[in-house]
């Protein structure tokens, strides 16, 4: 079924009786060309691009819960391409271009809203770092505007420009940045992949990876064994668990990142705003809730929930920056499991096991990467060569020291990007 305004009209007039499943619930076949472990955004996108770009449709996405139930459904929905380091910069640029055509590609309204994102800065040094980043973005062909205090005042006059603890010197504005409806991204990719013949197998937990003579043969699952020529791991926060089934240890620590939403409010924030002092970021959803987050809780966790100290600190950021938010009420807080790599950048690479591919280390930047990640991972799996924009995301970079992309410059000792 093709979605359109006309279709909605027709169904509305005939009692909405004609709607059909967004995707099938097939029984797993005994063998596929490719198995993707993890039915989150990246796994689903990988399946979609395997089918749509590379014509590989004998694909199963194995999901232990329900599709889109991980970080793709738990994030703060920000989409941007404002990375400062070579390697990441071109990758996210590529990803944003895919976002810009995603609705047509998927025939699904993911509500990608290019409402602009501004990264504020609070010192001369931070301005220079922002300029460096902006120049990287522009040299990549993306958009960046370095704003001074006056320009920021014009764009977002409701910040505290007088009393705030760390005065706002300016901001790096990225007009093509914005948000998207996170669940819709998962569902859109799922539906598109399903329509091309990809089997989405939910409630199917992978319990083992079969490797013979250094080559993958298939997986063991809670729904029986499934053979495959190639296996892609896209398990985000649980990447270490999946990799352990192949006897691998990863340069990954899983951490909890909290996110928050307020009750619905009339429109008050039109752009995405980030504030560096506490990694704070905020936008307003189309429903009116203020969606925001901050830094990690700073301890390893698989619990997908956090504690009060960071929750309070995140909101402290909000209040010193935007005192007008003071009476907004936090409706819900939740947590996601972040696969924190040791340089804050992802790993998209082959492994030492033939036919086993790795996609992890997204830290808290995975959502905006969804189409890009799926696209380049599909390329890697299909062609056995890294995609041009992801050739730096090597697994061995920590061991060799070559090509480390330390976005937050925090180093591996603290591993807290």
């Amino acid at each position: 079924m093709r979605f359109s305004g006309l279709r909605v009209l027709k169904e509305g007039l005939t009692g909405n009786k004609g709607w059909t499943p967004h995707w099938r619930d097939p029984e797993p076949r005994s063998e596929y060309d490719v198995i993707i472990i993890g039915g989150g955004g990246h796994g689903l996108a990988t399946a979609h691009y395997l089918a749509s770009v590379h014509g590989i449709t004998s694909v199963a996405v194995l999901e232990k819960g329900y599709i889109g139930g991980g970080n793709v459904g738990r994030n703060t929905t920000i989409v941007r391409a404002n990375y400062g380091l070579p390697g990441n910069s071109e990758f996210y640029s590529h990803s944003l271009k895919l976002w810009e055509g995603l609705e047509e590609d998927l025939n699904y309204n993911v509500m990608h809203s290019q409402r602009g994102i501004i990264n504020l800065f609070n010192s001369d040094g931070a301005r220079d770092a922002a300029a460096r980043r902006g120049n990287q973005m522009m040299s990549q062909g993306d958009d960046a505007v370095l704003m001074d205090n006056a320009a920021v005042r014009k764009l977002i006059p409701y910040l505290d420009f007088e009393q705030t603890r760390f005065p706002i010197y300016g901001g790096l504005y990225h007009p093509r940045g914005g948000t998207a409806r996170h669940d819709a991204v998962a569902w859109g990719f799922a539906r598109a992949a399903d329509q091309r013949g990809v089997d989405l197998i939910q409630q199917c937990e992978v319990t083992g990876i079969d490797i013979v003579d250094g080559k993958v043969r298939g997986v063991q699952t809670t729904r029986g064994p499934i053979r495959a020529k190639k296996i892609g791991m896209a398990a985000a926060g649980r990447s270490s668990q999946v990799a352990a089934m192949a006897g691998m240890r990863l340069p990954i620590e899983s951490h909890v990142l909290q996110a928050f939403v307020t009750e619905g409010l009339k429109p008050c924030i039109d752009t995405v705003i980030t504030y560096p002092m506490g990694h704070f970021y905020i936008s307003q959803s189309d429903k009116g809730g203020l969606v925001f987050g901050g830094a990690l809780d700073f301890y390893s966790s698989y619990a997908a929930r956090g504690n009060l100290p960071m929750a309070e600190h995140v909101i402290e950021n909000a209040l010193t920056l935007m005192p007008m938010l003071t009476k907004a009420k936090v409706l819900r807080s939740w947590g996601g499991i972040m696969d924190m790599s040791f340089d804050g950048s992802p790993i998209i690479d082959k492994t030492h096991i033939d036919g086993l591919y790795l996609n992890c280390g997204w830290c808290y930047g995975g959502f905006k990467a969804t189409p890009g990640s799926g696209n380049v991972f599909a390329h890697l799996i299909a062609t056995d060569t890294p995609h041009e924009v992801a050739k730096g995301h090597r697994l061995d970079r920590f061991r060799t020291g070559r090509g480390i992309m330390d976005e937050e410059a925090a180093g591996s000792q603290h591993n807290l990007h």
Partner: protein
């Protein structure tokens, strides 16, 4: 309509308030909801999507409909539940999400278009043309969405945060909670009893049940008095436990002054508590669930428990002709209480064929309410039974689909509640929150007697003490048969605020959103401000039905913190403005401010940007002048913000050898050395000078930014890697005030001030040692961050202000003066000294030209990993200096570098500038930066492109030390 002799309001104390500009009167003890009902106000809000008229549904914080805005200006508080807000004299409430008015809301047109706006419609349309989403569709959707509005102003009210600790936290002050608190209190435990309500007693205040032969409310008041008299019991009313966190930590919101007109900026409006409890007993009661049937959302349709709550607690009959529709015996109490109070009950409709009347009212058994009439207030209901359909006139329908235990807090740590068939609802799973037990209705025990007993038993169990005497309470059984939705046409509402109907759930199932989470996200069921408290269980049951699965198999409901929404002002009280983080001031702060120096933030510290003098209109004038002080006479600068760590012990040298890349154990006493510190991954962590004051006594300096990190690093190394080292250290950053005295006349300045003069022989470059200033013991270091003959002099902080003033006075006599951060930055760039702009976390010693400082003779932190092949690659970007040679002489930090003829695109990128300054010494800009292959490019011409600032020029690659490369001035 008020009912005589009912309720716990104080009729001698009338209270005036307004709603949508109309004046009303209530009484002290009223909530806004009870007072509006007493004034026969039915329509209080519009629903979120279809803007359908909505009235009050409940009598508690779970209210999904009656959300209003209270106050205005900086007091404006949106989305306040009228069912929780107590009225006070002068309270101003306004309706939300309706335009132009609540009575006539044009957005109600959405309701007519509802066939096209069903579950998930927006995912299927608005895709074309692409640019329309941001420009047309989204703005329209955003304007229509949202509930209340923020004022746009800062808070005019005060909020607080606080900590509390206790042995036992009792959550909820109903019969179970009261008995738990009483038992624990009598056993001598430190108890906190928290309840959302202003009165203890829970449903005892809302019912006509008896306890120990007296009214439940009276009994509760008696126990409350007992508890209040116990020193070890803290009773916190108007306090909601908002979240359960690890190791017995609970968040709690106390609404301290919401019920009063006190807005004096002193007494807090709310306090957010973090309570650390050794044990917790959840006695949170239960919430009644509505039944889904066609048009079950009209103003006047309420939960049955709420209808009698308004009668019993507030003396209000929510209608003149009450009807009841239920699937359980409990709801019949509503009819009984109404009849007792002299209010007419038209009929009780019970879906159970076997239901029996418990009093003198008309019972229609085995029947359903299938539709209702009346737009802005309920006028009639249609009842269908075996004998056919009939219309009954009524202005208040009390509905009940049964009760759901308040399991919410037990889900906050990922606990999934357990389905219990007999009550057709979820109960908490044991152990869901470590240290928390549940008792009473929240555990599915619905009779008063069971609650009283369970509360006492829970406390006795966890404390190993005797139960308080358990009084006699009502013990009638809870009898119900599940009824989720009445079959039939039309829209039967589940999530009242978000306008989710039974049809939406079925459509979601049809479209294969079969998982509870999928259904919820696709339909928005349970995502409104009540977070599904009123509707999740029904929606789950209907999804189970639509997908032909059992309820436990379909899934479970889960809830996340907070239990009810909490104002950001409370969660982060005190963080507005400067309260966000502490402010640190140097000892020269006052003297600096006296000179009108603009202060800039350096971490938590404040430091002077520059010291303006009369006639200067631009910071560059001041800066250039201050640079001149140092280059030509003498300048004084407070450098106290640098981290200072006092290190002592026989192994102090060994520790430093392990921490720094270079050797310190060989440093002579009385000498200072520059040191470079790596992270274990081989990248530069920090740098600074460390002085050896005696054989086993060093003082380390760190950069301002890394002071805390380095201190922690030393703790790590000494405790976790080298506990064998006999060494102790302490941060003395705040104990010593330290000032740089720099310039050709630096020694002249000091020699007028020190008790004994110094000379070049006794104080050569990098010397250090004790000196005396005005009889005060001080430390002098001959170190330089400017390339000039310079010292740093340190005195105990209490003398800092005096010394700074004395130094500046003498400097001015010598043709110099104080200098700030701008001049300091220029001086160090001229000399090629690095800061964290250069050692920004991604560079190695090799990158900054200090590869040779990594001693080959010893191990140190980071050494092995710094030798990874990729970190020693000649192709890496390395630190160099740059000067302009193009027509444009301006350089800018953050600019990128390219070959002169190359396109400025990412693939051609060679490097970037980290620090830039206009050098008055050289008369042009200078830059430090990183460029690929570094030193090999010395003398090359490169293109500098700063696209974001629109500046492009040509630069020459130079050695990073521009000024006095031989160091003659420093040593002289």
């Amino acid at each position: 309509m008020r009912v005589r002799n009912k309720g716990r309001i104080d009729r001698s104390k009338p209270v005036s308030f307004t709603f949508d500009g109309n004046n009303y009167r209530g009484f002290e003890g009223d909530t806004l909801a009870s007072a509006l009902l007493a004034n026969d106000v039915r329509l209080v809000s519009r629903s979120f999507k279809y803007h359908r008229p909505r009235g009050i549904l409940t009598a508690g914080s779970e209210e999904p409909n009656a959300l209003v805005t209270i106050g205005s200006g900086g007091h404006q508080d949106p989305n306040v539940r009228a069912t929780v807000q107590e009225i006070y004299e002068g309270l101003e409430a306004r309706s939300q999400n309706a335009w132009p008015s609540l009575e006539f809301d044009v957005m109600a047109v959405n309701d007519l278009a509802s066939p096209f706006l069903g579950a998930g419609f927006y995912y299927k349309t608005f895709m074309w043309p692409r640019a329309f989403w941001e420009k047309i569709y989204e703005p329209i959707i955003r304007r229509a969405a949202g509930l209340g509005a923020l004022s746009g102003q800062p808070n005019a009210d005060t909020y607080e945060r606080a900590f509390a600790h206790c042995d036992v936290l009792v959550i909820g002050g109903g019969p179970a909670g009261l008995m738990a608190a009483l038992t624990a209190g009598q056993a001598g435990a430190d108890v906190i009893l928290a309840d959302e309500d202003s009165l203890l007693g829970g449903r005892l205040n809302l019912e006509t049940l008896e306890v120990d032969g007296q009214s439940g409310a009276a009994w509760a008041a008696g126990v409350a008095a007992q508890l209040n008299a116990m020193e070890n019991v803290r009773v916190m009313t108007r306090t909601t436990i908002t979240g359960a966190y690890d190791q017995g930590t609970y968040g709690a919101l106390e609404r301290v002054n919401h019920h009063t007109s006190v807005r004096n900026g002193k007494a807090p409006l709310e306090t957010f508590w973090r309570i650390a409890a050794k044990h917790a007993i959840l006695c949170a009661g239960a919430l009644e669930r509505p039944v889904a049937f066609q048009n079950n959302d009209r103003p006047g349709i309420m939960t049955a428990g709420a209808v009698r709550a308004y009668l019993n607690r507030w003396g209000v009959a929510p209608g003149k002709a009450i009807t009841v529709f239920a699937n359980n015996d409990d709801a019949h109490r509503t009819a009984l209480d109404m009849i007792d109070a002299g209010v007419h009950v038209s009929a009780v409709i019970d879906s159970r064929a076997e239901a029996e009347a418990l009093g003198a009212y008309t019972l229609i058994r085995g029947a359903h309410v299938t539709n209702t009439g009346g737009r802005k207030r309920l006028e009639s209901i249609t009842v269908r039974s075996a004998s056919g359909a009939q219309n009954i006139a009524t202005d208040c329908l009390a509905m009940s689909g049964g009760w759901n235990p308040t399991v919410h807090l037990t889900c906050h740590m990922n606990g999934r509640p357990t389905w219990r068939e007999d009550i057709a609802s979820f109960v908490p799973t044991e152990g869901a929150i470590p240290g928390l037990v549940t008792a009473g209705a929240c555990q599915g025990d619905f009779s008063t007697a069971a609650c009283l007993q369970a509360g006492a038993a829970a406390a006795a169990h966890i404390l190993g003490c005797d139960m308080a005497d358990v009084p006699v309470g009502d013990d009638c059984a809870y009898r119900m048969e599940p009824l989720w939705a009445v079959p039939g046409k039309g829209r039967a509402w589940l999530d009242f605020q978000n306008d989710v109907s039974v049809k939406d759930i079925k459509q979601a199932a049809t479209e294969n959103f079969r998982s509870v989470e999928h259904m919820k996200r696709y339909t928005t069921q349970g995502m409104a401000t009540d977070q599904g408290k009123n509707s999740n269980v029904q929606a789950l049951a209907l999804l189970a039905d639509a997908t032909r699965r059992g309820i436990p198999e379909t899934g479970t409901t889960t809830f996340r913190p907070p239990y009810s929404p909490v104002a950001m002002a409370a969660l982060a009280a005190g963080a507005e403005g400067k309260g966000f983080m502490p402010e640190r001031f140097t000892t020269s702060h006052v003297a600096t401010k006296e000179r009108k120096a603009p202060m800039i933030e350096a971490g938590l510290w404040y430091r002077p940007s520059y010291f303006p003098i009369k006639g200067e209109t631009h910071w560059r004038q001041s800066c250039d002048r201050e640079v001149g002080y140092v280059r030509e006479a003498v300048g004084v600068c407070d450098v106290s913000t640098l981290g200072k760590i006092d290190i002592q012990g026989p192994d102090a040298g060994a520790l430093l050898d392990f921490i720094y890349t270079n050797m310190f154990s060989t440093l002579k006493v009385g000498r200072t050395r520059y040191g470079l510190m790596l992270r274990e991954d081989g990248h530069v962590m920090d740098d600074g000078t460390t002085a050896r004051l005696s054989e086993d006594h060093y003082v380390m300096t760190t950069t301002t930014a890394a002071a805390g990190d380095v201190m922690r690093h030393l703790e790590f190394v000494t405790q976790c890697l080298r506990p064998d080292l006999d060494v102790r250290f302490a941060s003395v950053t705040e104990q010593w005030a330290q000032f740089a005295v720099a310039g050709p006349k630096a020694r002249d300045l000091l020699n007028g001030l020190l008790d004994a003069p110094i000379d070049g022989e006794s104080w050569p470059f990098m010397a250090c040692g004790p000196v005396s200033v005005g009889g005060i013991k001080a430390r002098l270091f001959r170190i330089s961050f400017s390339g000039e003959h310079a010292y740093e002099i340190a005195v105990p902080s209490r003398y800092g202000d005096a010394l700074f003033r004395a130094l500046v006075k003498r400097a001015e006599k010598l043709g110099g003066g104080p200098y700030g951060m701008e001049a300091l930055n220029v001086l160090r760039i001229e000399k090629g000294f690095i800061t964290h702009s250069e050692i920004h976390g991604r560079v190695t010693a090799f990158d900054i030209g200090m590869g040779r400082m990594v001693s080959a003779k010893k191990d140190c932190i980071g050494k092995t990993m710094s030798m990874r092949e990729g970190l020693l690659d000649e192709d890496r970007e390395q630190l160099m200096g740059f000067k302009p040679i193009g027509p444009v002489m301006q350089l800018t930090a953050g600019a990128h570098l390219y070959e002169e003829g190359a396109e400025p695109v990412a693939a051609n990128d060679l490097g970037y500038f980290t620090s830039v300054a206009f050098s008055p010494t050289f008369g042009h800009y200078l830059a430090l930066g990183f460029v690929r292959t570094g030193a090999a490019r010395k003398g090359d011409r490169l293109k500098m492109v700063d696209a974001v600032r629109g500046i492009e020029t040509v630069v020459e690659v130079c050695h990073p030390v521009f000024f006095d490369p031989e160091g003659e001035r420093t040593r002289g």
